[in-house]
């Protein structure tokens, strides 16, 4: 027995320094070997080993200093295996003296981790005497220190694992986020490009419609012009049959021209290329012109064409557009009325607005068709009209666009099979700024 070991002060120093050293230990895979190194460095032990107890009861020997390894290792393994979890009241697993190959005094110390003996420390001195109580207490303290250290490191390790896991999760999340952002950016780019293509196609459509309309109009100039000359008798006398047939040519030409003009108007309005021509005029004159133009069509179907327009309503707006809107509404009403009447009724309900209603006793509009009424190329009620009804299905759409353009509104009411009433309201005096925002 080494005297220095009983020097209390020295032992205290040793334990303290070892405690400090152990406190500085960090998480590492071979922690048992490291702890073994620490203990055997600070204490001059003749025999020393650590037996790690796996959860399945298996035993792993770390860092052994034995003079006769095989027998001591065997003793330790057995000790650990035999261990039932019971710790002696004094804190030891066992202390014993073995005689062979030379007398050794052994101490088995438990390392407790979460109420479980996770390892057994074997400390031994080459002596046949039982070790003094003081020294046993020092070893017991060392075992407790190891327990604390191991527990702390395990906690740190699981914390570190958790941090690593969390970092991994965060990285995965970040990656998913980045990928999503990339995807969004990609989609946005695709959409932007699609949008540019659509805009370009829209522009081409407008260009096409405009140039097409102009090209179609040129031959119509000759058709309408020359039939006009012949009908006027400028080129000589014509008989009644020739007059009748030429009138049909001229009317068809005018009809075709009207359709082309509608298409051109819509393409210009949609492209925002419309200029209004403002002037002051009387409503009565415009209504008279419309009635005069559509009377032949109305009398052909024996319809009454009535007006209810107060005298003296003057407007300051685009005369041509107002006439165009009225022409569209009234010719539509005539088209879809087989008996009865078509009436144009105007009034000025307040100070600022003109309200014009076109009322017919025609086929009417089904409720479910109401929302299609002002959509382009919708031809409602075709099945009801006995004869083929001429038109492109853009008349009401254009009228709606024109009302917007003049800062007004258009509404439809109808009782199916009884008649319809289309009402547009526009400012009496057009002012820049009261145009529908879309066109300003």
């Amino acid at each position: 027995m080494n005297n220095t070991l009983f020097d209390r002060q020295k032992i205290l120093d040793t334990v303290l320094r070892m405690a400090q050293y152990m406190a500085g230990l960090t998480v590492q895979p071979d922690i048992w070997s490291e702890i073994g190194n620490v203990i055997s460095t600070f204490f001059k032990l003749d025999l020393f080993a650590i037996g790690e107890r796996g959860e399945d009861g298996s035993v792993m020997i770390h860092h052994s200093i034995f003079s006769d390894e095989s027998s001591c290792e065997k003793i330790l393994t057995e000790k650990v295996k035999e261990f039932t979890g019971e710790v002696l009241e004094s804190g030891f697993l066992a202390t014993e003296v073995i005689p062979t190959p030379y007398p050794c005094s052994l101490v088995f110390l438990p390392v407790i981790q979460e109420n479980r003996t996770s390892a057994v420390l074997l400390v031994g001195h080459k002596t046949s005497k039982v070790l003094p109580k003081d020294l046993l207490n020092v070893y017991l303290a060392v075992a407790r220190l190891v327990s604390t250290t191991i527990t702390k490191l395990a906690a740190e390790s699981s914390l570190q694992n958790e941090i690593v896991e969390r970092k991994k999760a965060e990285e995965a999340l970040q990656k998913a986020h980045d990928e999503l952002e990339d995807k969004v950016a990609e989609r946005t780019k695709e959409l932007t490009q699609a949008n540019i293509r659509l805009q370009e196609m829209d522009r081409l459509k407008s260009v096409f419609l405009t140039s097409m309309s102009h090209e179609l109009r040129t031959p119509l100039n000759s058709i309408i012009g020359f039939t006009g000359i012949i009908l006027q008798g400028m080129a000589g006398e014509i008989n009644e049959e020739q007059r009748k047939q030429l009138t049909m040519v001229k009317n068809s030409g005018s009809h075709l021209l009207g359709l082309i003009d509608d298409v051109l108007d819509i393409s210009n309005i949609e492209a925002g290329r419309v200029e209004l021509s403002l002037e002051e005029f009387g409503l009565n004159d415009v209504v008279s012109e419309v009635v005069k133009a559509l009377s032949p069509a109305a009398s052909e179907k024996s319809l009454e064409l009535l007006t209810e327009v107060p005298e003296g309503i003057t407007l300051f707006t685009d005369r041509k557009r107002i006439k165009q809107m009225l022409m569209n509404l009234v010719s539509n009403a005539v088209k879809f009325t087989n008996q009865g009447s078509v009436k144009i009724a105007a009034r000025v309900p307040g100070d600022d607005n003109l309200e014009i209603r076109v009322i017919d006793t025609g086929v009417g509009i089904k409720n479910e068709d109401m929302n299609k009424l002002f959509q382009p190329f919708q031809r409602i009620g075709m099945s009801l009209t006995k004869s083929y009804t001429e038109g492109t299905g853009i008349g009401l759409y254009l009228t709606k666009k024109l009302t917007d353009l003049l800062g007004g509104d258009i509404l439809a009411k109808s009782i199916y099979s009884r008649g319809s009433e289309l009402t547009f309201t526009i400012p009496l005096r057009y002012e820049y700024g009261n145009r529908n925002a879309k066109y300003s």
Binding site: H214, R217, I224, G225, G228, I229, M234, A235, L264, E275
Partner: protein, 119 residues
């Protein structure tokens, strides 16, 4: 007999307009380009000019400006013939110096009434 200069590059339109005017007893002078129209207007001193807007060399607006610049032509009535729905045509023809405008297609009866307003 009033003399009317018609500046128009489309043969069918030229024929149509000249026919209506001659039928009514006017003397018609024909020009088929803007430059020719300007030269003829200066040389022939017509009573009225009917000016198409789309012409092969200089357009009808430019031709009108050049005729107006020439001394003695300040009050010469120049009537533009425009296509329908040309953006800003109305303002453009007046600012170029035209006295009025007629929209295509030409309808013989209203066409003559319009012309007579300026003679």
């Amino acid at each position: 007999m009033k003399r009317i200069l018609v500046v128009e590059d489309n043969e069918k339109n030229m024929y149509l307009i000249s026919y209506i005017l001659r039928n009514k007893g006017y003397e018609v002078i024909e020009s088929r380009t803007g430059v020719e129209g300007v030269e003829t207007a200066i040389k022939e001193k017509p009573d009225l000019v009917i000016m198409d807007i789309q012409l092969p060399d200089i357009d009808g607006l430019e031709a009108t400006k050049r005729i107006r610049e020439f001394e003695g032509n300040e009050d010469l009535p120049i009537i533009a013939v425009t296509s329908y729905a040309m953006v800003g045509d109305r303002e453009k023809v007046f600012s170029a110096g035209c006295a009025g405008y007629i929209e295509k297609p030409i309808k013989p009866d209203t066409f003559l009434l319009e012309i007579e307003k300026y003679l």
